[in-house]
Amino acid sequence: MAAVQVRGEVLSIRRAGAYHQLTMVAPGIAEQVRAGHFVALAVGGDHSSMLLRRAFSVYRTQDRGVYGGTVEIVFAEHGKGTHWLSRLRPHDVVDIAGPLGRPFALPKESVTCTLVGGGYGSAPLFALAEQLRQRGCRVDFVLGAATEERLFGVLEAKRMSSSVAITTEDGTLGDIGRVTDVLPAIFERTGAEVVYACGPMGMLQAVAELAQHFGAHSQCAVEEAMACGIGVCMTCVLPVVGDDGVTRMLRSCVDGPVFKGERVRWSDVGTIPDDTHGAPVVVPPASGSVGPVGSDNGSVGARS
């Protein structure tokens, strides 16, 4: 797979509850996308003062059609960049880079899977569910959000799974509470062996911990702030334990966004844990050393 940058065209944009659903013609990208991949959109037009790309999980794709391959994303308007995106209309031009990142890993055998989506984090889970079902996997959905209009894809989930559990924090739909309140009962009922999750960091941490408790594998797609989405800016890093047991600051754009839940040091996200590969060594300041020459860079990067 090679990422490409294309000048895409908006095919349609519509509301979906509190969110926007944007379909773009993106030849060269659509054909390559697998569930869990994301795309990075430039916002504001060619002379935009907003330089950083906005990254979105791919909701679904169509390989070919009358217009060529299409890519669909779901987003919430919460800043200037997403506001600009929300004002796009059919035939408008969007600069799209993709497919980016590592997609969800699929099981080799037909296993029981639970798919957990927080808010519009559920977007990449439907294409995943389809692939899992093709492999004979049982699929159960858990969708959670603050309120009903912030759920995404409830009907679609019902169409393609054995069961759907819904939670909202205000009780407007489903159970009052969070996805992790209903997850233990689902583990017990279905005996899920793999959990796929996408949503806010706090939810991912709780899901990963529950999965570990029930002896299930977890595949978590993280949402980290990114500037480029292609692996060159080094801003979207988080501490992840490798096969060798060593913690490294990995880029969620190229090493993720999907990580094994048990490998991410969730409680340390936003810090550089002391035992990280290349973590700053705390050197007591040498007395009398002034200025750059000869003094050591005893910087303390880790922050709590």
């Binding site: 330089l51 292609i230 801003t235 003094s295």
Partner: protein, 349 residues
């Protein structure tokens, strides 16, 4: 070359490029064209090679490399600002050994021209980095990053002090093969950049790279705290371009014979041309890569057209052109006619 045809932003089209000699001369180093990636914005070239042929540009400038692996700073590491961004990466990298065996080896096998950016906490570290790189034939030049703002102690930014700058440059120059030029990358956050530039050149720098980022700070008004985990960060992007062009202008004026690599917010051919006219012999594209990973060939093509439009047959003829005195205005009979125009126009109406 099919991917180069998918050029998307203004300043380029599919027409063949006009005939301009784009060769860039940087002291002993000659590059086929003046376009480079800026350090810290292009990784080690591999990711961008998906978007354009990295062997087609003058050189890839690597992310600054240090002796040991380094985790960098905590997140959040960046904040978007008007026409720019603040970053606080903190020189995350694999260390020189891993860099040379994996990343530099890949760049060499790919056939890219490579400028290796090095950074150290001490003069000794810079010297050892230069020694390590001496064995590699893949290094076209060394860029000495003495100006990274993302260190905990501002007193450690070598480029803020002429003496410290000079010591580092001297150490690197003495440990580098004579045929490999050494460029010192300067900080704009100084009172007199010419003073620092002169110190670097006196210490043996073959050229100067200008500018590194400006120290900045963004406050998150919801959290009511600094947005970056590292509190301060380096400001880059088109927002800093006039500062960078000013720095290039001042240093070229004081040291006209010294090659300058110009960078700071270059987004299209006009921006690149500003730097060339101010005195840069080559340019680097940094933050723009985050917005448009295909930018380098696009900007290069645009620059070539703009040079042709202005009657330049060689890039080198345009270097520093803006310093030439403006020719005295010539008044003609036509001017006199225009001056009289209101009267006659009024008579007609």
């Amino acid at each position: 070359m099919t991917r180069l045809t998918r050029v998307i932003a203004p300043g380029s089209d599919d027409e063949p490029l006009p005939d301009v000699d784009m060769q860039a001369t940087l002291g002993a180093l000659t590059l086929p064209n003046p376009m480079m990636t800026a350090s810290g914005c292009a990784g080690y070239g591999r990711e961008l090679d998906q978007f354009f042929d990295i062997t087609s540009i003058g050189a890839v400038v690597t992310k600054s490399i240090m002796m040991s692996p380094r985790s960098g700073r905590a997140t959040p590491r960046m904040a978007e600002t008007a026409s720019g961004m603040l970053n606080s990466i903190g020189l995350q990298g694999p260390g020189i050994e891993s860099f040379m065996s994996r990343d530099l080896a890949w760049l060499e096998s790919r056939g890219a021209r490579v400028v290796v950016s090095i950074a150290g906490g001490t003069v000794e570290e810079y010297a050892r980095l230069a020694q390590k790189l001496r064995v590699s034939a893949a290094v076209s030049a060394i860029e000495v990053n003495i100006s990274c703002p993302n260190v905990e102690d501002r007193g450690l930014v070598f480029a803020c002090d002429p003496g410290a700058s000079s010591t580092v440059v001297d150490a690197v120059r003495r440990n580098t093969s004579p045929g490999v030029p050494v460029f010192a990358k300067l900080s704009p956050d100084v009172t007199d950049i010419v003073n620092i530039a002169e110190a670097c050149v006196d210490a043996g720098a073959d050229g100067l790279s200008m500018i590194n980022t400006l120290l900045g700070l963004v406050i998150d008004t919801d959290a009511m705290r600094p947005h970056l985990a590292g509190v301060t960060g380096g400001l880059s992007g088109p927002a800093v371009r006039p500062v960078a062009v000013r720095a290039v202008w001042q240093v070229h004026q004081a040291l006209p014979e010294v090659p300058i690599l110009g960078m700071g917010g270059i987004r299209d051919g006009h921006d690149a041309l500003e730097f060339i006219l101010a005195g840069a012999s080559a340019v680097q594209v940094g933050t723009t890569l985050f917005n448009d990973p295909m930018a380098p060939p696009r900007i290069l093509g645009h620059l070539q057209r703009l040079l042709a439009d202005r009657g330049f047959s060689r890039l080198s003829d345009a270097v520093g052109h803006a310093h030439q005195p403006v020719p005295a205005p010539v008044y003609s009979v036509i001017d006199v006619d225009i001056a009289n125009e209101p009267e006659s126009a009024g008579a007609e109406g």
